[in-house]
């Protein structure tokens, strides 16, 4: 690996971490679209900042653009508060308006300004190593690496300091407010961090990938864990690994780096969506199938419980009276036998004491909805897991 290659991957990894952290909270607050809005509407801020500083990595530019991001949020909320339109409509109104101002500003000054819309949308990570930071004439590395590292340090610092406040205000804004942790302050704090991150990252990865880096890792992690800290860790891992794999994919295919990274993020999400142990599509389908079988089992056990006469307990009766297909009958019988709930002697099915107990408890649960007594059954049967 050459030095620029290492630098590019380092920038990509740092951008991925810096995006993943606010992304987790945006996803949990159901505000994913806001990051899309911010990433586009910061354009006029960036253009004006660029006119003033002629440097895409200048702190003034980042500040100006971040303020535009926060203004976006304020405008969206103001429009929403009129009660005339819903939030998604408000977002759809605000960010194209601001973005188009940026586009016009670029077009009007196209000759003087080294900035074009393509670069804004897609970024150009490959060029990042060319813009060096010189301190007292010494080359200390790419500018965007330093800028993003600084942004990331601030983000991590704020996350550690205000983790508990962010958690409570995200989960329960009412309680947060009553406890004295103003949800408004935290909301705008998060919006400011998101805006700064988007501005810092957009030069490297563009306005579109920034959104993907914020939302996709968090959405993927959400499918895998029920612990906020783990969700943050997993998001960072998914973000960084997708960024690096995406870089090498681009290298291999000779394609756009940001495009490849976004593709990898999408593929990773898809794989997790399919195979996640609890929330994944396959797990859910399996669970639903099991639940259907278990409902059948319970129906069958109840039937046995209600009837002592042998004619009602004959194996063939399952097909004739309960009207089940052969396969379903067999699945249900197997499941009952496997759990020692029934015995079959001469094709006559009898409930065992264990089967009887199971039936009584399950029935009681279904009637009363009290689940203290069936706690031990939850591990073996999906039916009782709420």
């Amino acid at each position: 690996m050459s030095a620029p290659q290492i630098e590019i991957q380092l920038i990509a990894a740092i951008v991925a971490i810096a995006c993943a952290i606010p992304g987790v909270f945006l996803v949990l607050r159901k505000m994913a679209l806001i990051s899309d809005a911010i990433s586009h509407s910061i354009l006029p801020g960036i253009v004006i900042g660029f006119f003033l500083t002629e440097d895409l990595n200048s702190p003034l530019l980042i500040l100006l653009a971040a303020i535009t991001g926060v203004i976006t949020v304020i405008l969206v909320e103001a429009i929403q508060k009129t009660g005339l339109v819903k939030e998604d409509t408000a977002i759809g109104l605000v960010f194209p308006a601001l973005f188009s101002i940026g586009v016009i500003l670029i077009a009007k000054n196209a000759n003087d300004v080294h900035l074009d819309v393509d670069a804004v949308l897609l970024g150009e990570l490959a060029f990042a190593p060319f813009d060096r930071l010189l301190i007292a004439g010494i080359d200390v590395g790419p500018k965007s690496l330093w800028v993003m590292s600084l942004i990331l340090s601030i983000t991590i610092g704020l996350l550690i300091a205000f983790f508990k406040e962010l958690k409570v205000s995200t989960f329960d804004a009412g309680l947060s407010s009553a406890l004295g942790f103003s949800p408004v302050v935290l909301h705008y704090g998060l919006m400011s961090v998101s805006s700064v991150t988007v501005v810092g990252a957009f030069d490297a990865v563009g306005a579109v990938l920034v959104v993907a880096l914020m939302i996709a890792p968090a959405a993927t992690a959400y499918l895998l864990t029920s612990d906020l800290k783990k969700m943050l860790m997993l998001s960072i891992i998914f973000g960084v690994s997708s960024a690096i794999i995406g870089y090498w994919m681009a290298h291999l295919l000779d394609a756009s780096i940001s495009g490849s990274m976004t593709t990898v993020l999408g593929v990773v999400f898809l794989v997790v969506y399919l195979f996640a142990p609890n929330k994944g599509l396959i797990a859910v389908m399996y669970r639903q199938k099991q639940q259907r079988t278990e409902v059948s089992l319970l129906t069958f056990l109840l039937h046995l419980n209600n009837h002592t006469e042998e004619s009602e307990r004959h194996i063939n009766h399952l097909q004739e009276h309960i009207n089940w297909q052969r396969v379903r009958s067999k699945t249900v019988l197997d499941l009952a036998q496997k759990n020692n709930m029934i015995t079959i002697v001469n094709s006559i099915v009898t409930l065992t004491p264990k089967g009887k107990e199971f039936t009584d408890l399950a029935l009681e649960y279904i009637v009363t909805n009290k689940d203290e007594k069936i706690e031990h059954m939850k591990d073996d049967f999906f039916l009782f897991r709420g």
Partner: protein
């Protein structure tokens, strides 16, 4: 002995988009009562609690908790929002939710430690949820979720408890468990204010009641003011339908 006033509301008016939802409310709630706020849908019951707690800014009027503004008395007050107001798919456990009750006393930045964890475990024990402490909150039944919310309020160890419809969507056992805990709180001299829907259980559960329908209709001891007259004033002529629900 003179009765201490726990909560005083003066001329409180709250509006959403310039439409008043609470109009000129005067209310004094003495210390140590278990009070129901009743009224039809849209009467402003939740809004009243939220504006006492400073979650909603009123357009007029003032609120005091033991003669001081709420912001100075936060630590004396615990709050249980409506269960439906939060996202139960949030990645966290029952214990962690209860721990949130300790955040108020900790203040900004400081993190909860062993002391807070111990208090949270005790509160879970009190509501019978200790076996579920590590369960993800979406895996709890509606009644269990409400118990977790109650535990979170208990861990705040407050003098005044506000609860927004704690019996909504819970099973009968949980309802009894919750009301018993509320009665214990009252016995310990705490003041408990509950937004309540089921008029039939008011005389059984509460000793104090406020009738609300945008304006305050009446407030006082259940035995004195819980009558057809006030019910009719609050719910209109159809109040009997509400009772039969």
């Amino acid at each position: 002995m003179e009765e201490k006033i726990a909560i005083r509301v003066d001329d409180l008016t709250v509006a959403y988009n310039y439409k008043p939802v609470l109009w000129d409310i005067d209310l004094t709630i003495p210390e140590g009562v278990l009070m129901a706020i009743v009224g039809p849908n849209g009467a402003g019951k939740s809004t009243l609690i939220k504006s006492i707690l400073g979650i909603i800014d009123p357009i007029a009027g003032s609120v005091s908790i033991y003669d001081k503004p709420y912001v100075k008395q936060r630590k004396l007050v615990a709050y249980v929002p409506q269960k439906g107001s939060v996202d139960w798919d949030f990645p966290t456990t029952a214990l962690d939710v209860v721990m949130m009750g300790t955040y108020g006393k900790l203040g900004w930045i400081k993190r909860p430690g062993q002391k807070e964890k111990k208090a949270a475990l005790e509160a879970l024990e009190k509501v019978g949820m200790l076996p579920f402490k590590n369960r993800q909150i979406s895996q709890l039944s509606g009644g269990q979720q409400q118990r977790v919310f109650l535990a979170r309020a208990l861990v705040q160890n407050a003098a005044i408890y506000f609860m927004d419809e704690p019996f909504q969507g819970v099973d009968a056992t949980t309802e009894i468990a919750i009301i018993n805990i509320l009665k214990e709180l009252r016995k310990a001299g705490k003041t408990v204010v509950v937004v309540h829907h089921d008029l039939q259980t008011v005389p059984e559960y509460f000793d104090w009641v406020t009738f609300l329908n945008v304006k305050k209709i009446a407030t006082g001891p259940v035995k004195d003011i819980f009558n057809d007259d006030n019910l009719t004033k609050t719910y209109g002529i159809n109040y009997k339908v509400a009772v039969n629900q």
